[in-house]
Structure formats: structure tokens, C-alpha cells
Symmetry: C2
Subunit: 641 residues, 2 copies
């Protein structure tokens, strides 16, 4: 039994008694110390680096720890066993990646798309209002002659004055009725959901002159990031948006690693706790504090997550999602009380989860489809959602086909040495000078750079290819002798974008051949998925009127570069729309349009899923696509060699 | 601050530090020591007698404590203030009244009526089965081609094989799906409720060859007693019945006193706890142990209680029930999960509460009406339910009128010196010898007498009148000199039915003029209610084809005696049926007939309530009826003077 002390840089110290030969990463998790570990302890990502300040651990050599780092006491925590009393320094980045919340507005693209689609849907017959209503009503005072029960009196009002056929109410609301009715002479404020001809009463309060403003939340539960928008349900205005890393990241970067972790004792509950208490409730707290409102005034959450996220949120065993034949426990989740899931809004508040279609086409996609006009239009179009999984939806108003591929976290900056999500300070655009191979970049918010986000990685790799730093396989030109190009002790090439030495910077930001390889696999997975889907329908790419690109890849995604990399099909850039987070937009629309939620269910029922992992040609297509732009250059006529 | 030690005879000792000048009854309640206190601390009932063994209390003289008792240290706890460290002996009777459970069968009358009515209802088109079903089903194994979600697979089976339009399931059931499906090769056992064309899934388990037996509970929540029947939902057989006193009795014998108590801090929660945890859950535990089953196999409770009991069970403020214009918060309570109310059956199990009609016509009456054929028949009939409140329902298949009167607990043996519920040892029949005024009696179960129950009190008073011991006002003949007749220091007459002295008995059982007065008021309230209702409809009593008498008054109610006392209308005894606990029977029928619950709701909607408390002639009628048999003898032509 050894004592372990974790110093989380500049934040706090946590102590723990380790079991015999306990793994250091396991011990950290047990102590509640967050260490970024995307590969979930497989020693492949190199992200769980920590520094042993005193004492010793038993560790294994790895390419992720340089000799210099080793001399400083750096180890991979997943690769180290506690054999001594130790003091461990946990890097700030590792914890801040998940913990820090960003308050942002929607991007211009996102705002434009929401407005555009919302208008289109209303023109198509949807109601320009949410299901959530409130009324101040004056009921008659009861008498011995008019002695109906309080609930009957309320029901009568809803029938006669508001035209409903019935009302329903929960035990909590029943308990409020008698005193609320009598506190202000039977003048009350009622909050309710319109469910066709039935009003579901969510709250009854004595009227106090002003109608309270009602709020809702649009919630995007991504594998890597979680975002929430606070919406004024009276005006449909988005008050503010808050994002943070999904706190489940400490149990694995992708859904597969999390599903594996869920099978450990207590794993499923830890994952549920991480998303509910450490992510969603923290975002809600932030929104509530920021807007100066009460959480009791939030009555609805419209949420979208992929199928695994939904299972983990519900606490339903996700193990069969990853095992052939890849079966979800449930796709269409009935609306429930947020309180049932432990989500902190009004105790009667509801949560709607966008339905899944299959194990790897989840609510994020069905909500996302709702937010683009594919399902309304006569002509064909496509949604490409670039997340930890890549999902493709193709079709028109008559049919929708969908498939998914495992892209890994590269598009969101994960498993890339200096990758980051699209946060302030992230490098989002890169140009490399032809002459001297010097890089020029822009960061989000024009801050000093903290890392590279998806759009920056695309630009960077594209520019490295254009300027001949790398070839079509992503291998760096060994003949170049340039201060920004170096090779590590294992011979792996790096291009330095920003460094202490060359740029007088605060840190080193670079890309390695391994990163480029990860990225090529990610883009190859997406392109081959698009290609396989269209092939199986015997449809050429140019039937497409539009391609909507979604995902947290970065606001300034350069579509031309993405095509040049062979990530997206080679059709005219004018046909592309980069719309940002489509899942969040779908949630917002479902929240603010009465028929929205039902429509997403309907869309999900009309989506046909194609399982790529068992598709006969997908693997070959994938291998052909793992090249810049592609081994078959005929597919990219506009891209020079 | 004084120390108080309660000795609960032969059971346990409880200690408590009292606040300054704390009331002894309040202190006992605070300590969780149960003292019978039907009048809720008004010093009128005399039931909260305790013995001060050491130390002193400040107390007030009362007719309920004789000089001899005072010398022994007896005081009324409600009337005593703690001024010293004291030791208090709490009588066994007081605690056992509530705590002890009786396992019984239904009476012959009850069984006969259930069978008779059930048959009649089935002949009238109801389904001879409950809504609760289970099936063992074999689902297809999923494949990559047939990759629907588990929930969709179950839904498909219910649609295609069982003809349902949809299924619903809760979060708990969702969590069970994936593992239950796969534990035994997709052969599962499903428990569900039929809700027209939708199946509500309550449970999913891996099939293990035998279908589990499903159970339900019919629950009668009386003000004084609570009874529960365990029902095999496959065979409709009543396995066993258990009854006990309502543990709320310690907070007041009648609904008014409990409502008053509910307004004290913590009062409502104490009352809720008393009925749920100290009464209902204890009965369920007893049923489960007795039958050797698991409580998880109980999926439904059909319950009936009066309007106040419903409010207290839900934890809804009942205060406006007792204040003019007497308004319930809710009459028609939606079905909910037992777990929501803290009732311990299967976590997904449901509770249906029979709806109320008004503050003083509750679910016990609507369930009770369902259990008698009033609402089916062409001819007129009446239900008279003799509980702590007396309720009357009159009508036929076209209309139902109802009213209620406050009878007090006398019919169930409450507020009667030696009164008891109809428990083993209760004197249920009495004859007095004309010659020597000696009493002859029968007890329930032929045990040595423990007290007198309702039917015994009726017989006793009737016989005292017949033999001239009392006159029409209930006053004892002062000229009689008889060892069984005595007068206390306040001059109040007593007739001794059984005593240590005269019968070599184990205790004294007697009736006092005050008891007789209470009873005359109770019967006067019931008769005048019947009379006022019929008068207001301008219908003579003899339009009645039948009168169904219900209540826990005792199996061997002598209708002739009840008529002779002026309690029930003077129509031929052949028209009367004593059916026992009609509320419990209604619950049983609602549990075992698919359409039962809806039918009770329908019946309740068709019932018109007449508020007697503000009826112009009711008070006069009541005063006229407070005489044996009545001041207007024309109403009782068959009864001699």
C-alpha cells in the first residue's frame, strides 16, 4: 500500500492510498483526478503523460516519451505501476481540456442556417411557437353550489376557455394546486405543454402580475464536446451558448473505449455520472448563473447525442452496440422527466432525446438532418457530419440513406499531438509560403496559439502537400533541410508551426507524420463512406445539388482544401455549405417549433441505414482513399497532382 | 428540560428529553410512542389514558379519570404537562389497537357478493380477466441485415403477433432490455398492462421455462382500519386478507382531527408516513411473507379511500376539505407508480385510486357502488356505507345521488368506552334476558371478549331499549336496582356486559350513557341523511327495491335491530343485504376485470353530490332522528314503542 499525491498544476492536491501494483491511470481515476486518456490506457495516444516528482514507478519505454522527457520524470500514466510512495504532477492542459467552459455565440454560419431553415419549415406549415406555454388565468371562486375539485376547475377552464380536451398533471403539481389557487384569489399562472388536444400541466403558481419568462435548453451531447444553448421560449432567442469537453473523455476518447470501460465494475455508473453531473449539469449551472435566471424556469431540454451517448445518459448497457450485429437497446427514447435522469432543471421539466437510427447513426444525425433541408427538397443533397464518427445522410424528400464510419477524434483535434477543439487560441487557418516554407496562421479570437483545431489541420496538411513538404502518402520529404522540419529519435518527421525557439513562442506546436497518418485515415474513412454509399445506390456524385458539412471542425473550414485533401467529393465549392453544429441546430429547431420533435421522429423512421463495416467493398475503398487526394485521381479532376 | 421515559407495556422503553412545559401527548408523538387519541387532544374521548409511574405532571380533572384511577397515577396524556422527570406506562391496548394485524378470510357475505356481482358484470359485457398479462415470447435473433434495436424488436412482436398498435416502457425497463434479451437466446418473459391497443411493458426477464405468477393487491384505506387482499391475477383468487388499524389514528380518530393535525409543522408528512410506511407497507410485507412470494411479483394495487385519505396518501394539503365550501384538490387521481408514493411492490407497479366525488364522498364509495348492482338495475336501490363517515348513494342505472354525514367512529367501535373494531374476541351479538336483565353474547371467533364491535353495540342498545333499561333518549331507568347497572361519581349510568366481579372475567366491558348518546347521534346522522336525500328527490322510502348495507360494523349485523333503533329505514328486512366491506370488493373487482377501473371513473362522473351540511332541513331531521327509534314514529310503523 503506497501513498500517492497528485498535484494538479496550480489547482489542487489529491491524495490516495494505492492498492498493490496499482496502475497509475487507474489510481488517478479512482481519486477523481482527470487525466486525458483518449485511447483508454492502451499506450497508443500518448496523452496521459504525467511527471513523477518524487518516488518511483515501474514503467515501459514508449515512443511517446522522449529521452529528455524521461530524464525529467515524465511517464505515461497508463503504462506505469505504483511501486513506491510517489508525488505526481498532472499537467494543467489535461484537466483544463475537459473542465473549462467556453461561453460563445453561435457562429455566423450556424445563425444563418438556423434562421434560414426555421423560416423554410414555417413556410412548410410548422407552427412558429414551441409546445411550452403559460397563461395567467382567473378561475371562479368555488361555492357550495359550484363545489368541483380544484383539478376539475382547472380542467374545466382548459376545456371551455382554451379548447383542450383534457389536462394531465403529476403528483408534484397536484400538491401545489390547493394553496396556489387560494394564495391570490384563484388567479393563477399555469405552465403547460401542448400535446395536441391535451394540456400537460407542468407548474401552477399564484399569479403575481407578470408572466414568468420560460426557458428551454438545446443540448448537443458529443463524444468529445458537450454544448448547451439557453433559449428564451417566448421569443425563441438564444440567450447564450456554453461548451465544454465531455467529462467522459477521461474514460476513453471514442465510443468504443467508453463502451469497453462501461463493462468494468461501476463503469456504466461512472460514465453516466460524468455526462450528467460533470458535464450537463455544470453547463446548465453556468447558463443559469450567466443569464441570472432560476433553473426552475427551465422546463424543456431538447438533446441530441449519438447512440452510445444516449445509452450512457440513460444508464443502459451499451455493450451490444460494439459487438456484431451492432444492436442498440433502444433507438426511439420516450420523452421523460429530466429529474429521472438527474438533470437539474424544473422538477417537472422534460427531456426529449432525438431518436437514433442504428448503433452508429444516432440522435445527433437525426437532429442534424432536421436542421438541413435535405428531407424537404425535390433534388438530392447530402449531410456530412464530421465528428468522432463521420456520418453521411443522402437523399431527398422521398428517401434518406445513411451510413457511418469511424473517423476517430482527429477532426476535433483529438489524437493529434498538438490538436485541440475549436476553442479560443486554436489555429484555424494555415498558409505555407511556397518560397521559404514559413507558415502563416490565424487563431480563433486572434489569441496566441494553444493548438490546432480541425480546420487548421486540414489547411496545414493541404499546404504541406502543395508545397511538397509531404507526398500523397503523407511522408515528409527527407531531402529537405529546414529549421521547421525535424525528425525525432525514431525517425518520425515533424513540421513546426510555432515554437519557443523559432517564434519566441510560449510553447511548441507541430504536426508529426503519425498525426498526418491519423488524419489521412480519418479523411479516407469519410470519403470512402460517401463513395460507397453513392456507389451502392448507383448514383454519380454529381447528382448532388448540395452538400452540407457539419461538425465542430472549426468555423473557417476551407472546403477547397478539404476537397484537395480528398476528404470531400470533388464537386463545385458553391454547392457546399459549412453549417457548423447541425445537431445543436436541430435541437434548437425542435425546441422552438411545435411539430419539431415529431418531425425528427418521422425523419428517423424514413432513414435507411447501411452498415459499412460488413459492406463488401468498403474496406477496399477505404484503403484507396488513404492517399492525398486519392489513389484514383479520376475522382478528383479539379485537384492537381 | 425534563427526561421522560415511556414504558410500552411488555414491549419496549423509549426515552426523550421534553421541552419546557411540553404536553405529554405531544411528547409521546414526538418520541414515536403510539397513544390512542381519537379526539386528537381535546380531552373529550378519554382514550389517551396513561399511568405516571414516577415523577409528576400538571393535569386537569376530567370525567374520564375516576378517583380510583387518579390515585393510581392515571392521567389523560393530552391533558397533562410535563413539569418533572417522569416515567410513564403506556397501556398495551392503545398500541396494539393499531399495530396488530389480523389475517382473515373475506366473510361469507363478502364472498357471495363478489361472486354474484362479478358474474353479473361479465354478463353485462366486461372481460373476465385483468389488464395485467404476461407472455413468454421467442424473438428472432438480430443479424446485420435484421438489425433493429431491441426495443423495436419487442415492439414489432407486439404489433405483428399480439395485435397491439404500440408499446411503452419506462427507464427501468429500458435498462433491462439488452441483457434480458441475450441471457437466454432472445426468449423472454414480458409482463405488461393492456391499455386498449397499447401495451405498457412493466417487466422484461429472460424466460426460464415457467411463467411467474403475477399478483395484485386490493386495498381499502379506511379512516379507522386498513385492509389489503392479495390476489392471484391469473386465477382471480384472493389468497389472503390482512387488516390493521390505520396508523394515522394516533393523530386523530376522524378525518377532521387529522386534517387539523396536518396543518401543524411536519403534520402532513407524519400522516403520509403513517399510512404508507406504518400501515400499507406493513400489510404488504405481511401478505408477501404469508404467501411466500416476492414483492416484485406484485404489479398492481387497486385502492379506495375517502377523499381525505386520498389527499393524505398523496401528501396533498387536505385543509380545504374541511372548510366551507369543502373543496378537494383532486377527485380523479391519475394512475401512478406505487414507487412514487413510497408503496413497496414491483418498482414498475401501478396504483389506481378509486376517484372521489366530493370532499365527503370518496373513492371508498365509488368503489363500493361498483360492487353493488345499483348502477346496473332499472329499479331503485341504495347503498348505505357505515364507516367513520356515513355515506348514502341512491339511484338506478340512469342516475345516482349521493350524500355523506359525519357519523363518528362509533360504528367501528371508536369513541365507545369498550368499543373495538370487528376483530377476534369482539362481542358481535347481544341478547338481554327480559326477566333478570342478564346479557348473553357471542364473540368473533368465540374467544373471551375483548370489547364490543359495531354490530354488538347495535344489539346491546336495542336490547337495553327493548328490556326497558334505557328509554328513547338513551337515558337509563334510575329506578332499576341491578348488579349490572351502576352510576359513576358524575351520575353517568353504565350497563355491565362482562366484568371481573360478576363474570369472573379478565376485564370489564360495559356501555355508558355517554356511549349510547354517541351512538344515537351516529345513527341519527345516518338516518336523517337517508331521509333528507329521499325527501329532496320527493321519493318515498318504499320505492327502494334494495338497500345494501356496507361497512366494518361486524359480520352479524342484525338488520331488524338496526331498524328498531331507527338507524335504517323501516322497509322489509328481505330487501336488505349486508355486504360487509364494499369498498374492498370494488377494488377487487376493478383489479380483476379489464374495464373495471374505467367503469368506476364513469360511475363517479354520474354521481350527483348533495352537500348536507348546508341543506336547510338536514339539521332539523338530525335532531328528530336522535331518539330511539325516532321522534316521528310514523316513519317506523313496524317498530313498537
Amino acid at each position: 500500500m503506497k501513498k500517492v499525491r497528485f498535484n494538479i498544476k496550480g489547482k489542487r492536491t489529491v491524495e490516495l492510498v494505492a492498492t498493490d501494483d496499482e496502475n497509475l491511470l487507474d489510481a488517478a481515476r479512482r481519486a477523481g483526478v482527470m487525466i486525458d486518456s483518449p485511447c483508454n490506457g492502451n499506450a497508443t495516444c500518448g496523452k496521459c503523460k504525467v511527471k513523477i516528482v518524487s518516488g518511483h514507478v515501474k514503467t515501459t519505454e514508449t515512443r511517446h516519451i522522449s529521452e529528455e522527457e524521461m530524464a525529467q520524470g515524465m511517464v505515461l500514466s497508463c503504462n506505469s505501476t505504483i511501486v513506491d510512495d510517489i508525488e505526481v504532477e498532472v499537467p494543467d492542459l489535461a484537466s483544463s481540456f475537459v473542465n473549462e467552459m467556453q461561453i460563445t455565440d453561435l457562429s455566423k454560419n450556424e445563425n444563418d442556417n438556423i434562421k434560414h431553415v426555421r423560416k423554410k419549415l414555417i413556410k412548410n406549415g410548422m407552427t412558429n411557437a414551441s409546445r411550452l406555454w403559460s397563461e395567467i388565468i382567473q378561475l371562479n371562486h368555488p361555492t357550495v353550489e359550484d363545489n368541483m375539485a380544484d383539478e376539475d376547475r382547472l380542467k374545466q377552464y382548459f376545456k371551455l376557455k382554451l379548447g383542450y380536451n383534457d389536462i394531465t398533471l403529476s403528483l408534484n403539481v397536484m400538491k401545489k394546486l390547493p394553496d396556489a389557487f387560494r394564495e391570490n384569489g384563484f388567479e393563477i399562472e399555469v405552465v403547460y405543454l401542448k400535446r395536441r388536444d391535451v394540456a400537460e400541466i407542468l407548474d401552477v403558481k399564484p399569479a403575481n402580475g407578470n408572466k414568468a419568462v420560460l426557458y428551454g435548453i438545446a443540448l448537443d451531447i458529443g463524444t468529445t464536446s458537450v454544448s448547451a444553448c439557453l433559449v428564451n421560449m417566448d421569443t425563441n432567442e438564444i440567450i447564450t451558448k456554453v461548451s465544454m469537453g465531455n467529462a467522459q473523455v477521461k474514460y476513453g476518447a471514442d465510443v468504443i473505449n467508453r463502451i469497453v470501460y462501461s463493462q468494468k465494475p461501476g463503469g456504466l455508473e461512472n460514465l453516466r455520472h460524468a455526462i450528467v453531473d460533470e458535464s450537463i449539469n455544470k453547463l446548465i449551472e453556468k447558463l443559469v448563473k450567466g443569464a441570472g435566471i432560476h433553473k426552475e424556469d427551465i422546463y424543456e431540454v431538447c438533446a441530441a447525442g449519438n447512440t452510445t451517448m444516449n445509452h450512457l445518459l440513460l444508464g443502459v448497457n451499451p455493450d451490444y452496440l460494439r459487438k456484431e450485429p451492432f444492436i442498440p437497446a433502444i433507438n426511439v427514447i420516450p420523452e421523460m422527466k429530466c429529474a429521472e435522469l438527474g438533470i437539474n432543471i424544473n422538477p417537472e421539466g422534460k427531456i426529449y432525446l432525438a431518436p437514433s437510427v442504428a448503433s452508429y447513426v444516432g440522435g445527433d444525425i437525426t437532429a442534424g438532418v432536421f436542421a438541413v433541408p435535405i428531407w424537404i427538397q425535390e433534388g438530392f443533397s447530402m449531410l456530412v457530419d464530421l465528428g468522432t464518427n463521420g456520418e453521411i445522410v443522402f437523399g431527398n424528400k422521398d428517401f434518406l440513406m445513411t451510413c457511418a464510419c469511424s473517423a476517430g477524434p482527429a477532426f476535433e483535434g483529438g489524437e493529434i499531438s498538438c490538436g485541440t477543439r475549436a476553442v479560443p487560441g486554436a489555429i484555424e487557418e494555415v498558409i505555407i509560403n511556397d518560397e521559404d516554407l514559413r507558415p502563416f496562421y490565424n487563431t480563433i479570437g486572434h489569441l496566441s496559439p494553444v493548438g490546432i483545431c480541425g480546420s487548421g489541420i486540414i489547411d496545414l496538411i493541404c499546404e504541406m502537400k502543395r508545397t511538397g513538404i509531404i507526398n500523397g502518402k503523407g511522408r515528409m520529404d527527407r531531402t529537405l533541410n529546414h529549421p521547421r522540419i525535424r525528425f525525432d529519435e525514431y525517425g518520425i518527421g515533424q513540421y513546426i508551426l510555432y515554437s519557443k525557439e523559432l517564434d519566441n513562442g510560449t510553447k511548441d506546436i507541430f504536426i508529426t507524420e503519425i498525426d498526418i497518418d491519423s488524419f489521412i485515415k480519418a479523411k479516407g474513412a469519410v470519403f470512402s463512406a460517401i463513395y460507397t454509399l453513392m456507389e451502392s445506390l448507383e448514383m454519380p456524385i454529381d447528382v448532388l445539388d448540395n452538400i452540407y458539412v457539419a461538425g465542430g471542425i472549426g468555423t473557417n473550414l476551407d472546403i477547397e482544401n478539404a476537397i484537395a485533401l480528398g476528404m470531400l467529393p470533388d464537386i463545385p465549392v458553391e454547392k457546399y455549405y459549412y453549417i457548423g453544429n447541425s445537431s445543436m441546430q436541430g435541437c434548437y429547431l425542435a425546441l422552438t417549433l411545435t411539430e419539431g420533435k415529431d418531425k425528427i421522429r418521422e425523419i428517423s423512421k424514413n432513414m435507411t441505414y447501411m452498415e459499412l463495416s460488413v459492406h463488401p467493398t468498403y474496406m477496399d475503398e477505404f484503403i484507396s482513399a488513404c492517399f492525398i487526394p486519392h489513389t484514383n485521381l479520376k475522382l478528383f479532376p479539379s485537384v492537381g497532382n
